[in-house]
């Protein structure tokens, strides 16, 4: 299985490449990708440098163009497709049908992957993207159980990439607009979820409140660790209880499922976190490289080592990890 690692900038890309990624994924410096954060991502010339560095070490470079352009902005996505093709990227990761259509017709040689934001959870959907755009790989949303993933792969016309580690979307990607409901900006339209521009941190007599678009997401008592107010991970009241009504602030860690994922025929494991630091990218890549190598050497004996789990735990959101949807009871 290929290890696909995030690169929000050149130092992160180098950290991923140097620590054993097989491929890295990047984005341009605008709203054409779903990590549209200040100071993050690549200009075309920086991406050219990145590709040179990665290629020199035998690592492939993918570019994510995985937001949904509206008619007024479509040219920007076209230009980004052209730039990626001109740079000779190893794959373009796209979600929007219009973007895929443009890329497939304008650059027939360009290797296309369906982004997780394309929201394809079943093989009938995958067939559509394969038939019309010749996609060669799809990234599955983080909503399927292990047995559902096996079933998709058995019937899929394209190879399958799944998330192995990182922040966890509890909603099916590409079809969640909670963020724009509170802020006007969503991953689909703007390339960011719960954007920092709409976050407020407000000191109160009892501690600190975090708000998104004015909506109270979390109330931290004095001394408690303060997390980022991602909307779906807030504490709300429902049916007489106050709790994480949607999801706890945990990270996905599917390392113990590496043997099952390999048996299922998963082609690649993706690490989330283009917005994270080069240190995070380096650590997570190194640990996953060790794990995948250990599995390749002795598949029967594979078990995540405690030091790997501890290392990943340190960089996890909320310092907790979960198997997410892969583990049926979570659903």
């Amino acid at each position: 299985m290929e290890l696909v690692c995030p690169a929000g900038n050149l130092p992160s890309l180098k950290a991923a490449v140097d620590n054993g990624a097989n491929a890295v994924y990047t984005g341009f410096r605008d709203d054409t990708n779903a990590r549209h954060f200040a100071g993050l991502n690549f200009t075309p010339s920086k991406l050219a440098d990145a590709i040179r560095y990665a290629r020199g070490k035998g690592v492939r470079v993918f570019v994510a163009l995985n937001t949904y352009p509206q008619p007024g902005g479509f040219e920007r996505w076209q230009r980004a497709v052209d730039q990626a093709a001109d740079l000779g990227v190893d794959a373009l990761i796209a979600a929007d049908i219009g973007v895929l259509d443009y890329a497939a017709s304008r650059h027939p040689g360009l290797n296309l992957h369906l982004s997780v934001q394309g929201s394809a959870t079943n093989y009938e959907a995958l067939r559509f993207y394969h038939e019309h755009f010749g996609i060669r790989r799809a990234v599955l949303p983080r909503v399927l159980s292990m047995s559902q993933i096996r079933h998709v792969i058995e019937h899929s016309p394209v190879e399958i990439e799944v998330f192995g580690f990182g922040s966890l979307c509890v909603m099916v990607e590409g079809r969640c607009i909670l963020s724009s409901y509170a802020t006007g900006r969503s991953p689909n339209t703007y390339g960011a979820c719960s954007p920092a521009s709409h976050v407020e941190w407000r000191e109160t007599a009892d501690g600190l409140d975090t708000r998104l678009g004015g909506v109270l997401i979390q109330r931290h008592p004095k001394g408690e660790n303060v997390g980022y107010p991602t909307l779906c991970k807030g504490t709300f009241k429902a049916d007489g209880h106050t709790y994480h009504a949607i999801e706890e602030p945990t990270s996905l860690n599917a390392m113990e499922l590496v043997p099952d994922l390999a048996t299922a025929g998963v082609a690649a494991i993706k690490i989330e976190g283009r917005q994270r630091s080069p240190v995070y990218v380096g650590q997570v890549t190194r640990v996953w490289r060790q794990a995948l190598d250990a599995f390749a050497r002795a598949p029967q004996d594979f078990k995540p080592r405690p030091e790997w789990t501890a290392e990943l735990g340190k960089v996890s959101e909320g310092a907790q990890t979960t198997l997410g949807a892969y583990h049926r009871p979570w659903q």
């Binding site: 949904y68 352009p69 509206q70 008619p71 007024g72 479509f74 979600a95 929007d96 049908i97 219009g98 973007v99 259509d101 929201s119 394809a120 959870t121 079943n122 093989y123 009938e124 959907a125 067939r127 559509f128 038939e131 019309h132 909503v143 399927l144 159980s145 559902q148 509890v170 909603m171 099916v172 590409g174 079809r175 969640c176 607009i177 909670l178 724009s180 409901y181 509170a182 006007g184 969503s186 689909n188 339209t189 678009g213 909506v215 109270l216 109330r219 779906c232 807030g234 504490t235 709300f236 009241k237 429902a238 049916d239 106050t242 009504a245 949607i246 999801e247 009871p329 979570w330 659903q331």
Partner: protein, 309 residues
């Protein structure tokens, strides 16, 4: 490219979207008995949220479809938005293989199955630009629903590029569909695992309201779907919707007073009541209150249209 903002204005037709919630079978039957006599032109039928909701089965939906067709309604069979299990694909195939009624695809899996025959796409299929709509139209798409987070400006751009023979529908009234998940949040609220959910969503005929810790009624949990607690109402925008050549306005069913909602839209469309007065009355029928922010380019939860009183 026959449509433009200055073109001939035909009054939009009214549609009733699928019931998003899990209602007992008797309630569903009573509801559609009411609908048979109500002034809506198009009725979308079927379970779109969760395949575990089995009070009304496929055959029952077809019976309701026959009754509504006999009552003069255009019936469309709607489909699941999130397809995970093979059993769900099998049910989808059963809907897609019939050709008595139009099918509304709510996932690209359904689009894939319907290719080459006429179909509609619902608001959970991401049609964000004209190139996407043109490709779907070449596959047989005859009607699309504006994704709910898009603005009037984007709709105007889309309408200028709309392929001939494709109708535009806009969700005009209802709690907003905001997200879908593998996880059932209603079962979670009751501390039940999804595999043993006991379909507790049947206890919440308008969804389970989630409030912030400072008591702002924010979201409504509807099984694996998350909706807005506020009800979007675009009736105050009727003149603009007409000018944009929108063909169909969709009302999303709610547990109570859907009949009055339909009547108010109908009377506003025929000019018997002005849109501000009708919207004032609509606001009193909403479970939580109104919003219209997306249409105006703001946060979805904002309310921009001023109250009449």
């Amino acid at each position: 490219m026959s449509h433009s903002e200055t073109g001939a204005q035909v009054s939009p037709r009214l549609s009733l979207g699928p019931i998003a919630y899990y209602w007992p079978k008797d309630q569903v039957n009573d509801f559609y008995a009411m609908v048979a006599d109500a002034p809506v032109d198009i009725v979308y039928l079927g379970e779109t949220i969760c395949s575990k909701r089995t009070q009304v089965r496929h055959e029952d939906w077809l019976e309701i479809a026959e009754r509504l067709t006999a009552a003069g309604k255009e019936v469309v069979l709607s489909t699941l938005a999130l397809l995970e299990a093979e059993s769900e694909l099998m049910r989808l195939r059963a809907i897609c293989k019939q050709d008595r009624w139009l099918v509304e695809a709510n996932d690209m899996g359904a689009v894939s199955l319907m290719q080459g025959r006429p179909f509609a796409v619902g608001h959970s299929v991401n049609v964000y630009n004209d190139r996407t709509l043109a490709l779907l139209a070449r596959q047989g798409c005859k009607r699309w629903v504006l994704p709910v987070e898009l603005t009037a400006e984007t709709l105007a751009d889309m309408q200028r590029q709309r392929p001939d023979g494709v109708e535009t529908e806009v969700l005009a009234y209802g709690r907003l569909p905001l997200a879908y998940s593998a996880r059932c949040f209603t079962a979670r609220a009751r501390n039940l695992p999804k595999d043993d959910c006991r379909t507790v969503c049947i206890d919440f005929p308008d969804g389970l309201v989630v409030s912030t810790q400072d008591d702002n009624r924010f979201l409504a949990l509807n099984g694996i779907q998350t909706q807005s607690a506020l009800t979007m109402n675009l009736l105050p925008e009727l003149a603009r919707l007409r000018a944009l050549g929108v063909d169909i306005l969709r009302i999303s069913p709610q547990a109570n007073d859907t009949e009055q909602v339909i009547q108010l839209f109908h009377r506003a469309l025929t000019g018997e009541i002005d849109t501000a007065e009708a919207s004032d009355q609509l606001a009193r029928l909403m479970p939580t209150g109104p919003c219209d922010g997306y249409w105006h380019g703001g946060a979805g939860m904002e309310q921009r249209a001023a109250a009449a009183s």
